[in-house]
């Protein structure tokens, strides 16, 4: 049997007795129950719109706008305008890209993911 040396800890302030022990695990029953995910919404003005509606409506609006633009090109006055003002072609790309297209596409998808996350916040 070995001799043990008993050391006295300095007494703490009386209020230390009110401190509580804590579990070493995360006690799931004390946490909020799992929440169902919801479809992200985007805010346009003061309205929150479910993207399941916004995407098809946006796509349909885009198709309509393209059809409208194409039909406008059939008009005599618009054709005359285009003929008079054909526009100036910008510097044409040489076909070489500074970044491989696959990499830029991947970076773009990551960026759009992040951007979407910052645009779409949950309604409070």
């Amino acid at each position: 049997m070995t001799d043990s040396v008993k050391t006295e800890r300095p007494p703490h302030d009386p209020i230390a007795s009110t401190l509580s022990a804590a579990d070493d695990r995360i006690v799931m029953s004390e946490w909020l129950p799992p929440q169902e995910g919801i479809v992200p919404r985007i805010r346009i003005g003061r309205r929150w719109i479910n993207i399941l509606w916004a995407l098809p409506i946006g796509a349909a609006a885009l198709v309509l706008l393209i059809a409208l633009a194409q039909s406008l090109r059939e008009l005599q006055s618009v054709q005359a305008f285009i003929k008079e003002y054909p526009g100036i072609a910008g510097p044409c790309s040489t076909g070489k890209r500074p970044v491989p297209s696959t990499l830029s596409r991947f970076a773009g998808s990551c960026f759009s993911f992040w951007r979407t996350g910052s645009w779409c916040s949950l309604p409070v």
Partner: protein
């Protein structure tokens, strides 16, 4: 070819998701171990960053129109009585490893030289707010009570309880209590600190996150080690939420 490159670039995401599925049950079951590993890996870096000077002084124009308040309000008859008589019978006990333990009245800190500072409060939840704080530098309190050489930490006990019950407290390294922006605040934006924001006294330790700045301070104790306090992790949120006891901004 493109598909191959894409797959190559996306594997870290897949690995991350896979590790998440494996790691979550482990971290839930062994949260304290994860906390200790985190302390071992980055705790010393956080300790070093406490020595960096926060560039935190702002102007009156920067003061936030609204300053959020977190924490569970004190709910004891003792505190109610103190509020009722406007803290006339309040006593701040400063004890532990000190040569001259003291009970300060509410008027005592106000009689000491006042320090004002306009600083940003950073909460671990992500919000922040700017306010002007007035109070007595902690170094002046320490000069009065004279810590003994073996005192390493200051324990701040609150009148409030934590969200899961038990008294709220937090521990700070003693060297950080001598930081020039560490004060016991009794004023906020030129008025006495409200009960909501920690009256009669609250800690302002500007190089730490908000939860470390104990409100409704009941007592301060200087200790050599905090392992025998609460669950031994250096604070209420450290015990119950597995935070690190050093949380510099």
């Amino acid at each position: 070819m493109h598909g191959l490159v894409f797959r190559f670039l996306s594997w870290p995401w897949c690995l991350w998701a896979w590790l998440g599925g494996i790691a979550s049950p482990f971290t839930i079951r062994h949260a304290r171990l994860v906390q200790r590993i985190g302390r071992f890996m980055v705790g010393w870096i956080k300790g070093l960053s406490e020595w960096w000077e926060p560039n935190a002084q702002l102007t009156e124009q920067d003061i936030s129109p609204y300053f959020w308040s977190n924490g569970t309000m004190p709910n004891s008859a003792e505190f109610e009585a103190l509020v009722a008589d406007e803290f006339a019978h309040y006593r701040l006990r400063v004890s532990g490893l000190v040569e001259s333990p003291r009970d300060f009245s509410f008027a005592d800190p106000k009689a000491l030289p006042k320090q004002e500072q306009i600083t940003t409060h950073f909460c671990i939840q992500g919000w922040s707010g700017v306010a002007k704080w007035g109070g007595v530098p902690m170094c002046d309190i320490l000069d009065i009570v004279k810590p003994t050489p073996d005192a390493r930490y200051a324990v701040f006990y609150s009148f409030s309880e934590g969200s899961a019950g038990g008294g709220y407290y937090d521990v700070h390294e003693l060297h950080n209590m001598r930081h020039r922006l560490t004060i016991l605040a009794y004023e906020m934006n030129g008025a006495p600190v409200s009960v909501l924001h920690g009256a009669p006294l609250r800690l302002r330790c500007e190089n730490e996150l908000g939860f470390k700045m104990v409100k409704w301070i009941a007592a301060i104790e200087l200790v050599r080690d905090f392992a025998d306090l609460g669950a031994g992790q250096g604070g209420y949120n450290e015990d119950h939420e597995f935070y690190g006891y050093r949380m510099p901004i």
